[in-house]
Symmetry: C2
Subunit: 248 residues, 2 copies
């Protein structure tokens, strides 16, 4: 049994509906040594007495939970994003079980200091836009007869698997090696603007999926802060050149 | 991922308090392919609308749940009993994690066709008398900071681990090889009577723990039906001899 030797993942609940589920999630996070809960637009506002009532020994996690307007804001300082989803998304991302995820946590250098795991709302799960923010998809194997997991159950299974996982091999990856998502998203915004301005999307209808695929490509490489600066440099260089070309 | 190839364990909730927890347990059992739920004296009676409301897709498990007055009755047809408990009981029984339990399920011939896993009530867990009925103790590793698992969470983790486990190596153990608990308990009753009659317990105060240890010894050997008959034979033989001796 490991735990603690490697930083636990941050749990991000996107649009959770029932306070009871938020509380139950905090309780089971506490049972398995997780510490940080982030909430994106919970349906019934925040704070929520129903969450506090269900949290039991996880009350401190509820008290310290932070609130965000958008999923992207909630992930700004994170390095590695995993989206928990049962549905097939047909995106170019690795799909892992919780056990596989945390095996990687220990074995490889892939996983980065601040890992966030996204869970969608009870009714419909994560939107495609939210899943597109992730490096990997987490899929919990369930019975074909009835696969709908309660939100807190899903958080609990992931927390349990983290607690069961082995501590990582020592790695030289540090916080400033892998870029936090805010840097990558800043680059994405600039790239999207540049492509918009230049009419890159031949068929505007197809932009959402094309843009998702482009971002997935960059996400997969988990660039360092230095590499994101390089990407900025490339973009700037290409767009300035283009501007000069136009100016001629 | 295995599941299905080997019979899922039966979940036995002893004295559960909240209908919501019974329902949530049924839901997560269904998520991971478990089928049979038994209830020993649920606090709020049965059926319980709160359980039905929380069961979602596990409604059929709630509808088919069976009710018992005593834990012993609930286990009568079972072959292998596992008690889920967080507290140290100082009993001579193997202590396993859920993962270890189901690894054995597959690897060894130890586990028998009908395995029941006992969970105690929310407030105080299983009594020592209930734990004494078990062959093994199941202990879920939790954080030292806050180890109190919600009842449905505990059932969920065990169900999940069963679903993740590998199917067993083929074995020749059949239903009539390992004795169902009713046969063993019948023998226990006769043995206890015989010992009572003969003043075996020098210090009556110590009887509960001594008797528990004696039963643990027989439980550990997981006797077959034939072996239980042999034990009966030995007991009969010894007691008749004693009666004749007395009669002389």
């Amino acid at each position: 049994m490991a735990s603690g030797n490697h930083a636990p993942p941050i749990i991000v609940l996107v649009g959770p509906q029932m306070g009871e589920n938020i509380g139950a999630a905090a309780r089971v996070m506490k049972n398995f040594g997780l510490k940080e809960l982030r909430l994106v637009s919970p349906r019934d506002g925040w704070p929520n007495p129903a969450a506090e009532a269900m949290a039991a020994g996880g009350a401190d996690i509820i008290a310290a939970a932070t609130l965000y307007d958008t999923t992207r804001d909630a992930l700004a300082d994170c390095h590695h994003i995993v989206a928990a989803t049962a549905r097939d998304r047909y995106m170019e991302k690795p799909v892992l079980t919780a056990r596989e995820l945390f095996a990687d946590f220990g074995r490889n250098n892939i996983m980065s200091p601040k890992t966030a795991i996204l869970f969608g709302c009870e009714k419909s799960g994560l939107s495609n836009e939210d899943v597109a923010l992730a490096h990997a998809i987490l899929s919990i194997p369930v019975s074909t007869e009835y696969g709908s997991l309660n939100l807190a159950t899903a958080v609990g299974l992931v927390s349990y698997e983290w607690f069961q996982s082995e501590p990582p091999v020592r790695t030289d990856i540090s916080d400033d090696h892998v870029a936090p998502q805010s840097e990558l998203h800043g680059f994405f915004d600039a790239l999207e603007n540049a492509l918009d301005e230049r009419g890159f999307w031949k068929e505007p209808k197809k932009k959402p999926i094309m843009w998702r695929n482009i971002r997935a490509l960059f996400l997969r490489s988990t660039p360092s802060s230095q590499e994101v600066r390089t990407l900025w440099g490339i973009l700037k260089c290409l767009t300035i050149y283009r501007a000069e070309e136009k100016g001629e």
